[in-house]
């Protein structure tokens, strides 16, 4: 199995940002993204997902280091000041490098 090194960015944040983030990551060069519904807790308190203003999402984006870096910086500057956001980056390997 020959893999090619890419970066994986995971963003956990308020459901209200889903549409904005999906647009942003595409604009900043990602070829795709994946979203799931989550719940959890952090410095902004518990987000139990039990009604609409309380929904959280987890977005996953795979891409080149440069693309992932600029997405992360953008989120840090744009959303982190006013929204509940957790974000981390890790290494991953993909089989079809052109795809990401």
């Amino acid at each position: 199995m020959q893999t090619h090194a890419k970066k994986l960015l995971v963003v956990i944040t308020e459901g209200a940002l889903e549409k904005l983030l999906a647009r942003d990551v595409r604009r900043l060069g990602a070829h795709g993204y994946t979203v799931s519904d989550v719940r959890g807790g952090g410095e902004h308190g518990e987000r139990a997902a039990d009604w609409e203003a309380d929904r959280s999402i987890r977005m996953e984006v795979i891409g080149d280091e440069a693309v992932i870096g600029s997405i992360a910086e953008h989120i840090l500057a744009t959303y982190c000041p006013n929204y509940a956001v957790s974000m981390y980056v890790s290494d991953c390997g993909v089989l079809r490098p052109h795809k990401f």
């Binding site: 209200a16 039990d50 009604w51 609409e52 203003a53 006013n82 929204y83």
Partner: protein, 315 residues
């Protein structure tokens, strides 16, 4: 006390007692879609017979009421509450906009007492959703540095949001289909209405119960505002209703709309348009205090207030 209110108290009590009872989110959404459509449709069926000459001026008055209420709330929040402009603008927007479920409880209150009202009232609910949100944002942003409001995106969010699309869609369907046309779907949308409202209130009780804890963090002003503001708004609403020559039932309904605070359309719109505002504050106030107050004590009170106004006015 109407049976639907007991469901609210059950949810509230269960959560305060520490129960983990949860309604699935899909059920919550399904119930709210149902209520919005059913309320709209009921109004639309009635709208058919109305002369535009009556409804038109009333509609303008109702929009004016939606603009006025946040203008009243904002200075109170700034000076007495000492809130920053963002939080004050957001709260003003929530309290100027309306809660459809509070409206539904008020309708249940009237029908169970056999009191008539202008049956096209759902039109007013639609009209009062948006204006206060716009005013609240302008108040918060006025003269402030920082990024300009994306009014286009905001209009999209509010006007094409769930509340307005379903209320307006229901109105249009009711209006086009007419009383005879809706007969085949009455068994779902009309006969089950109160039962569905009861279930929805159970969920609202659970959610409200989760918010009560947060109130401690925000202090006594928020509690006072969450009770005082609706009563003040109701009084203003009654003044408008009197000027609009609404029936006693309609007067009470307009008072309730004025007194109610939004927790669907406003939070969604403000989270995007006014991210600096703390959403916990608005929601603790509107769901943790005002909603419970309105459906238990507020609605009977506004009904009395409407009665006094009628007596004063010599009607």
């Amino acid at each position: 006390m109407d049976v639907v209110v007991l469901f609210f108290l059950l949810g509230l009590g269960a959560r305060l007692a520490g129960s983990d009872l949860r309604l699935p989110e899909a059920l919550y959404e399904a119930l709210s879609i149902f209520l919005l459509l059913a309320i709209g449709m009921k109004g639309g069926v009635e709208l058919a017979g109305q002369p535009l000459a009556t409804v038109g001026p009333q509609a303008i008055a109702v929009i004016a009421l939606g603009v006025l209420l946040p203008l009243v709330a904002f200075p109170i929040l700034r000076s007495v509450g000492r809130l920053n402009r963002f939080d004050a603008g957001a709260l003003a927007a929530h309290y100027g906009s309306v809660s459809v479920v509070t409206f539904a409880v008020a309708i249940t209150f009237l029908t169970s007492r056999g009191v008539d009202y202008e049956a096209y009232f759902p039109v007013f609910v639609v009209l009062m959703e948006a204006p206060a949100i716009v005013v609240g944002i302008v108040l918060a942003r006025r003269g402030a540095p920082g990024k300009p409001v994306a009014w286009g995106a905001l209009a999209h969010e509010v006007l094409l949001g769930k509340s307005i699309v379903l209320l307006l869609g229901g109105l249009a369907i009711g209006w086009i289909a007419g009383p005879a046309g809706v007969v085949p779907i009455k068994a779902l949308f009309m006969d089950l209405f109160k039962g569905v409202l009861a279930l929805f209130l159970l969920e609202m009780g659970l959610v409200a119960g989760s918010r009560v804890g947060e109130l401690r963090r925000y202090g006594v002003f928020l509690v006072a505002f969450g009770i005082g503001m609706p009563v003040l708004s109701a009084a203003i609403g009654i003044a408008f209703a009197t000027a609009m020559s609404l029936s006693p039932g309609g007067t009470m309904l307009l008072a309730t709309l004025a007194a109610s605070a939004s927790y669907i359309a406003a939070p969604a719109a403000l989270r995007i348009a006014l991210p600096e505002a703390n959403p916990g504050l608005s929601i603790a106030a509107s769901l943790g205090i005002t909603f419970p107050f309105n459906i238990t004590l507020g609605i009977p009170l506004y009904s009395h207030m409407a009665g006094w106004a009628a007596t004063l006015g010599g009607r």
